[in-house]
């Protein structure tokens, strides 16, 4: 192996080492155990130098540290956290699709499924999550989200509800289920869609230009 290849290989090895080290961190103790803190710091520092982590984490060991800590608490990989945690309106928020994964991974439920109801394209169209609780085998249903609810709550000002309602119903159903049956899985954070729906994104200069030009 020449020098160049060796250099290229380095980040991958570092990443593997980082993930192994993260798995060894036990929840909570990075804030109280000096050795665990230092180790997480090294992992975060290394991750921040990788070009494989999402761009908004590159060069930001502080943000990577938070992701490492959250990953340890949630028994998942920091990469999952980084790929699914966004800052929306100044608030850290989960990607909608991550919510279902978090319900799957929290260890309390099995057979987690989306159930769609009503006729597609009408206000009656809805979605809820159904799952089997592992502890007692009971079937547990989340609150149903419908288009009528989205309208009444004013979420439709977020254009995604107009353009891809089925997807948005699915994301919201997962969030509702998690809020009700495993709130700890979301670690107190909102999902991106919740933040955007309640505080709609402001039209940008590009949006406004299009509106002015009547496009």
């Amino acid at each position: 192996m020449n020098e160049e290849q060796a250099l290229q290989k380095q980040p991958t090895q570092q990443m593997t080492a980082a993930l192994e080290q993260t798995a060894a961190l036990s929840p909570g103790n990075v804030w109280s155990d000096k050795a665990a803190f230092n180790q997480a710091l090294r992992v975060a520092d290394m991750l921040s130098k990788s070009s494989l982590v999402p761009q908004n984490y590159q060069g930001k060991p502080q943000d990577c540290f938070i992701a490492v800590d959250m990953a340890a608490r949630m028994n998942t990989s920091p990469i999952f956290i980084m790929q699914n945690l966004y800052v929306v309106k100044g608030k850290p928020s989960w990607a909608g699709q991550a919510c279902k994964a978090m319900i799957d991974n929290c260890g309390k439920f099995k057979n987690v499924k989306h159930v769609y109801t009503g006729k597609i394209g009408t206000d009656d169209r809805g979605c809820y999550i159904t799952a089997v609780r592992i502890s007692d085998g009971e079937v547990v249903n989340g609150t149903e989200v419908t288009m009528a609810m989205a309208k009444a709550e004013g979420w439709l000002s977020n254009t995604k509800w107009k353009n891809m309602p089925e997807q948005m119903l699915g994301y919201r159903a997962a969030t509702f289920f998690a809020r009700m049956h495993c709130p700890e899985a979301l670690m107190g954070l909102q999902t991106r869609e919740e933040v955007e729906d309640t505080e709609p994104r402001q039209a940008t200069a590009a949006d406004l230009t299009a509106a002015l030009k009547g496009e």
């Binding site: 402001q202 039209a203 940008t204 200069a205 406004l208 230009t209 509106a211 002015l212």
Partner: protein
Amino acid sequence: MTEKEYRQHPAISRSELWAMNKSPEYFKYRREHPIEPTPAMLFGQVAHKLLLQPEDFETDFILAPDIDRRTKAGKEAWNEFLDAAADRTVVPADMYETALAMSEKAMSEPLVRKLLAGQKEQPFFWTDADTGEDCKIRTDCLTEIGDNLIIVDYKTCNDASTDVFMREAVKFGYEFQSAMYSEGVERNTGRKPLFVFIAQEKTEPYAVNILQADEAFVLRGYDRYREFLGIYHYCRTTGDWYGYMGKEKILNTLTLPSWMKGDNE
């Protein structure tokens, strides 16, 4: 509501509140001693009027005639003119020509015409929920485009390029203005407006730039609006219009600006 009635309304305006950026002492002085309009300020007023409400120009302004005031006849003619002008503001002819050329140039831009198609010079009043202070604003233009309610504000400037205008905007408190105006419109209409500046250079070719205030811009302005209104409330209720040394009258530290600090380290 006429311009005069608006100005005499006791609620606090944006330009008054902006004086808090210096100190409450300065704010109080300015309130008691309003600035006599400078030629630059008059030019701004004339340019606004010609762009926004040219049909009303003669209600507030009158064009100075070409009279040689060094002769006796000229002096008499000038005095007659001033009597006829009454409380209208006299505008020098060259100033008028420039402002007119600017408005023609601005209106030749289709996006400007669309932005200025709304309601002109509309006053809004509200009582701030936190402090109970009465506030007022008057928007240059309020326009509906698609789903958006847009506050349009016209600024004349020396350089309308985006980078330079950004720096000037922070210096003159346009972020504070965008926030206070957005607050006023939202309180009155229940809708969150967007804020757009039409910036135009005062020299040929009277170049125009249209800039939309982004969320970070308005948010920073909102912090300043809350801060100034809070200080105003404190001063008004306590009667303490403090200066640069603050309420507690403490000495300030003189240090180096942050960009120089690294030099000795």
